[in-house]
């Protein structure tokens, strides 16, 4: 059974139809990359998966549980929305780190808040709370170490390079143990010499079988890291398949044009 099933997602903003019936599945541990020219709907699709936008039509099913269905007209409470969001992590193009917190605090903040809420609900004693929060902290430190930033934990975002900030953002998303980690053009805001360090972190996550959906313009990276590639064009999936099928074997006119323009 696929971990994620997306069926017939449509999204309109006013009269503009951005997504026109997107369906795909991914298996646990797979890496899916979404490619396509800007305006083709890749980012909107990611935002729908992370509940930043509500699809106009369609269903999203995770591990057999329906997370979203346009048939279901009952409005979700903030808490329900939040529980569903937590299945996914999202790394933004612009990092969106919290500027007033250190790298470590950026990673621990949300996890600490969740933990505190949970423990309050259980009426846990203070010693337990302290112990659990220490665990959150240790886990965050491990994550920062795994993205190569163990020496930058106490630095503020403004003291870090773009590549370092994006690696903190990846650690921050991992801190909540998402089942699927999404990346929205994670290297587009970076200087060319800094993209490598971010891509290699994503690559190492792929090696550890993290399920990921990546929107990217780095074609070589997409070719080498993906199990599956989707080429989107004007709100629909124009081509999908293995990297080989998409990049080398497809005769689709649009993708050939696209690949030519990015390889210029």
């Amino acid at each position: 059974m696929p971990i994620l099933e997306v069926k017939n997602i449509c999204k309109s903003f006013g009269k503009v139809e951005v997504l026109k019936g997107i369906s795909f599945n991914i298996e646990k541990g797979e890496v899916l990359t979404l490619i396509g020219s800007s305006g083709s709907g890749k980012t909107t699709l990611l935002r729908c998966l992370n509940f930043l936008e509500a699809p106009t039509v369609g269903t999203i099913t995770l591990n057999g549980e329906t997370l979203f269905s346009s048939e279901d007209t009952k409005a979700l409470s903030d808490r329900e929305k939040r529980d569903r969001r937590l299945h996914f992590g999202l790394v933004f193009q612009q990092f969106n780190l919290f500027p007033q917190y250190t790298a470590l605090k950026n990673v621990t903040l949300a996890a600490e808040l969740l933990k505190k809420e949970e423990l309050k609900y259980e009426k846990a004693p203070k010693s337990k709370v302290k112990e659990e929060l220490e665990k959150v902290r240790d886990h965050a430190a491990e994550l920062l170490d795994s993205v190569g930033l163990s020496d930058k934990m106490d630095n503020y975002p403004c003291q870090l390079s773009g590549g370092q900030q994006q690696r903190v953002a990846i650690a921050r998303a991992l801190a909540l143990d998402p089942e699927i980690l999404c990346f929205d053009e994670p290297t587009s805001a970076l200087d060319p010499e800094l993209t490598g360090e971010v891509l290699s972190v994503i690559r190492s996550l792929a090696q550890r079988n993290m399920t990921m959906i990546i929107v990217t313009h780095e074609m070589e990276f997409a070719k080498s890291v993906s199990d599956k590639v989707i080429f989107m064009d004007d709100g629909v999936i124009a081509v999908e398949g293995t990297p080989r099928e998409v990049f080398e074997e497809s005769n689709n006119e649009r993708i050939q044009k696209f690949l030519k323009s990015v390889n210029k």
Partner: protein, 236 residues
């Protein structure tokens, strides 16, 4: 007959007036800051009628002189109550006006100042809150934070940092606006100095008040500089 006054006596009297000035200043800040935040939420509300009512109110308050507002709030209730009495009308509103007519000048000054400054503060808050990028909220949402957690843990401090310069400007203006209280017979620093013109024929105490204003504004400038420095460890 004009009595001789010493420098020490003048200083003491002016200091009394200055304490009254401080009272207007302190009470206005105490109430206008939270009220301003509430008004700013109103002016950003997605509920259109509320938004427009608030915007019109802010327009009226910012669009008329504070001096006029003081006069309206001080004399208005009495005039309305008198007219109502003459026509024999009596209801909750008239009772309220009667009651307000009996408030002290000081109370009226604080009410007028709080309303006036809350409107100015609300626009500063609004500017600050709206200048924070959507990405900060979205980062909070995808990390499972609630709306109030995002506001208090992520947004607020960034807003505070950004609004310190315009806030300090407005607060320093407030120090000097307190001198308008005299218009509706509330005692403050300028009035304390003017008394010496009549009682002793002295003009210099009036000039001397400038020293008090300058010293206090200087202190505030240092204080705001300190806050700005405290928050300079991050950029947003």
């Amino acid at each position: 007959m004009i009595a001789a006054v010493t420098f020490g006596e003048v200083t003491l009297k002016l200091f009394e007036g200055f304490l009254s000035t401080l009272k207007i200043f302190g009470l206005t800040l105490l109430f206008a800051l939270p009220l301003g935040l509430i008004i700013s939420f109103g002016s950003m509300s997605r509920f259109r009628p509320l938004k427009y009512v608030v915007k019109v109110f802010v327009w009226i308050i910012r669009g008329t002189p504070l001096m006029l507002q003081l006069i309206v709030i001080y004399y208005g209730p009495g005039l309305i109550a008198m007219a109502a009495r003459n026509s024999g009308a009596s209801n909750f509103f008239v009772d309220l006006m009667e009651k307000m007519n009996n408030f002290s000048a000081m109370t009226m000054v604080v009410i007028a100042f709080v309303i006036n400054y809350a409107c100015y503060f609300s626009e500063i808050f609004r500017g600050g809150i709206e200048s924070i990028t959507q990405g900060q909220y979205e980062a909070g949402y995808v990390l499972g934070m609630t709306k109030s957690q995002i506001f208090f843990k992520v947004i607020l401090l960034q807003v505070v940092k950004r609004i310190i310069p315009p806030m300090s400007n407005e607060i320093i203006t407030l120090v000097k606006d307190t001198s308008l209280a005299r218009i509706i017979t509330a005692y403050e620093l300028i009035w304390a100095a003017q008394k010496f013109i009549k009682s002793a024929g002295l003009l210099w105490p009036l000039l001397y008040t400038g020293v008090f204003y300058l010293a206090f504004c200087g202190l505030l400038t240092l204080l705001f500089g300190y806050f700005e420095k405290k928050l300079s460890y991050f950029r947003s």
